[in-house]
Amino acid sequence: MRSIPFYPMMVLLLIGLGGYLGCDPGSLKLPFDTSALTGGDTITSVSSLPARDGERLLLGSFNLERLGPSKLSEPTTMERIAKVIQQFDVIALQEITSKDQTTLPQLLKWVNRSGRKYDYVISERIGRAASGYYEQYAFVFDTERVNGGKEYCYVVQDDLDVLHREPFVGRFQTKGRYPFGFTLINIHTDPDEIKYELDVLADVFINVRSFEHPEDDVILLGDLNAGPGKLQRLEQIRNFVPLIHAPTNTRGTKTLDNIMIDTQSTVEFTGRSGTINLEEMFRVDLAGAEDISDHLPVWAEFSFNETPTSVSAMAGAAGRTRR
């Protein structure tokens, strides 16, 4: 088992690490233009979400607000959660709160009812005994378009318990012609501890990125319980920016969830990101939307294929230079 001490307080623990998903260079392809980051598209209907096709990958994050036995027993709510998940290639989920480990399999049954082929990876139960409950993170991904699996996921080890819910890291790769590989850090901070947790997360990001090298597309996403301008050291990492600036709670008053990328490394980002308005998507009122969650899903669009950052002008050189 490989482990790297990267900070006096934390050591990354790999759980069943498999091989690194490599990237096979091929012929030249121009990168997408990335427009100025606005982080503000609010999607009101499924038809206006970016299409998932051979050129585009849609990543998302969704705090499910206590997905457990009571939500599982509500078919309408489960149908709607499944509908949200079906819009994404990979979606990071937070607040799975159930001792019953059939929760995610049951959710996937809803997601895959129409012949879809989504799979999931789920973390161990994470939290503190002193709080009286635990949560799990999950990644749900479309296996027809993305490779992933539990052998490529791990929970960040936190010996001094400075993070209430240690992040869950997962590696994925598209099944494109030039596979785009990326690493996701799934996080749900403790709102009572964000003063400390956001700064610790900055260290987590830096060290996960170092550990994942040469993979440099490391994306942090989840419920940060803080918005742009209040992300402390996370926002001070050079070129590391939050993509979401709109409110992400269902009541439309706070930006709690985000997707953060290094804009110099992850040039696959197309410039499009935003939230999904549950009230308008499902034509329900606020109470109906809050039956689904008190958070909105957030999304960001990327190129489906790895994007080169340099092109060799020399004859006989490899067609694509990877960063």
Binding site: R66, T97, A129, S131, G132, Y133, P191, D192, Y196
Partner: protein, 150 residues
């Protein structure tokens, strides 16, 4: 101590959306942490997090809860006391938990709660210093962090 009632799932879900009503029900929320249903406890925790302050007249009951046999109740009581309007009484109770013989996890939560008070008493500082020198690495770390932040 005022008689308390464990709340149902529906009740705690409602309180999680209403911080002011949750504050009025703070003592019943604490009792609810004794529920055997983890989902209920999780929602009760959400309701507690949403509370911005607890009124002075509820502080004695929340202080009483710091003596409960259940660790989760004590930890939650400490978190609540950090939001009490009567800060002096509240801080003393949290300090007493930190200085007690309770488990490291409970004392660590007490140290976290002390970090939320704007000013620490001499007694709290002494308790934190003792904890920072102790053999429990997690408690020591949080106690030192609280001292550094004070």
């Amino acid at each position: 101590m005022t008689a308390t009632t464990q709340l149902t799932l529906e009740q705690v879900q409602e309180l999680a959306r209403s911080p002011k009503r949750a504050a009025e029900q703070a003592v019943n929320l604490l009792a609810t942490f004794q529920s055997t249903d983890e989902e209920v406890r999780a929602w009760a925790s959400d309701a507690l997090v949403a509370i911005e302050s607890i009124p002075a007249h509820l502080v004695p009951d929340v202080v009483d809860a710091t003596g409960a046999p259940d660790d989760v109740v004590v930890c939650s009581a400490c978190k609540l006391l950090a939001k009490a309007e009567d800060a002096a009484t509240a801080q003393q109770a949290v300090c007493d938990v930190l200085a007690s013989e309770r488990s490291g996890a409970v004392r660590t939560e007490a140290a976290r709660a002390l970090d939320k008070f704007s000013e620490l008493t001499d007694e709290s500082i002494t308790a934190l210093q003792d904890a920072a020198q102790g053999s429990d690495a997690r408690l020591a770390h949080i106690a030192q962090r609280t001292l550094d932040n004070s």
